[in-house]
Amino acid sequence: MPDDKRILVEIKNVGLQLNQRVILEDVDLKIHSGEIISIIGPNGAGKSMLLKVILGLIQPSKGSVTRDAELRVGYMPQKLSVESLMPLTVARFLMLSPGATLEKSRTITAELGIDNYLNSPIQAISGGEFQRVLLARALLNSPNLLVLDEPAQGVDITAQAYLYNIITNMREKLGCAILMVSHDLHLVVAGTDRVVCLNKHICCSGNPATITRHPEFIHLFGSAVADNLAIYTHKHDHRHDLEGNIIHD
């Protein structure tokens, strides 16, 4: 990665209210090129809304959002259903992306193992296949930032691990930053550079090894979850000081 410090998106002091209900308050977040950030938090914590603010799909009620001029986003929405009265094959769905070419779409679908389904109606494929199709569509835009809203929902456990594997490999291949929202704490926390715990505001954030010991994290998810996760995150070749900085062995 040529410029590690490049900031793709910076949001400052962002607040969002819908129908007089506070969805987000005082959220600050910087997304650097090439990093993987996981946003976790309970239901109704505003995770999807935060993604939409970052993507410019929703205007925040206050605060600022700054996007890099060369930002290219690949977005995988949480929900997408194609009306059954619309005849649309998987291949055609992918080609709806303005960045798509036939060759590009062939390469990406082969990599994701969905090239056999290209001629199937999009309404007919399984949940796991559909999530991979959505990921392929996001990748067709040649993103330097992939935004994934619960990429593994509706996917069984083994396929989940497979999907997260693909996603973390994407960074190596494309050098793109990844911002994802997830409920699957185990799978997410291990592959990620930075974990952000959101519950309307950012409760705590840090690298995965230290975050599970943060009092706010334990408060949010309970100590059983935190202990469980701590085991997962200790397979690293480095240690962390009290602030969470990396100390290489």
């Binding site: 977005y75 929405p77 619309m86 769905f93 303005p98």
Partner: protein, 266 residues
Amino acid sequence: MIDWLMQLDFIGRALLAGLGIAILAGPLGSLMIWRRMAYFGDTLAHSTLLGLSLALMLQINVYFGLFGISLLVASLMALLVRQKWVASDAILGLLSHTMLAIGLITATQVRGVRVDLLGYLYGDILAVNMQDIALIYLIVVVVISALFYLWRWLLAATVDSDLARCEGVPVEFTNWALIIMLAAVFAIAIKLVGVLLITALLIIPAAAARRFARSPETMIIIASIFGCIAVVVGFKASLAWDWPTGPAIVAAAATLFVLGLLRKAV
């Protein structure tokens, strides 16, 4: 060509007008069912009575009145559906019947305005003149060209507007363009098939075409062809048995739909 057109009798003119609307109904009706806009169409149709009465009251061209009101109501719907206070079907129902009520009051109470309500409800395709036909085919050319130009964006925004927006598709622009096209088509088609049946004429051929199509493009083409068949068959039935023409066309389209159900989906 012009000579031939001028020599058409009222049946020839009506057929030509019906075919023009059927051609437009293919792509626009398909977009409406893909976007779940059937109720949107009904609301638009119910509002046009006010446009008609206002045009008669102000003594302006009827089409201006119809198009103006369609556009106004379509824009209102597009804006109101976005708010989250009231569910969008409630908003459409409220708007639809409020506009109909105001339209009926205007049509019956304003001095000097006399609206043939029955003709307005069922349409009067046999009364079209050459001016109507010229306008219909002008709109056919404009709408088909616009659809051709906007097609990829329209599809992307139909499947998922957030995703399309992230990929740089001008979703707002595309949606407004569609609303203007729908308003124009409703304005011209109301006179031919009437308020009660206009949505059916747009939607039924498209729904019938679904089972025969594997791509959005084949679906809109088949829908246009089905619409044209329905118009021709409806006319024949109307002439043979003295049925009202608009309802005969819609019944023919519905028959095509039922026949389509018997066929295995592609």
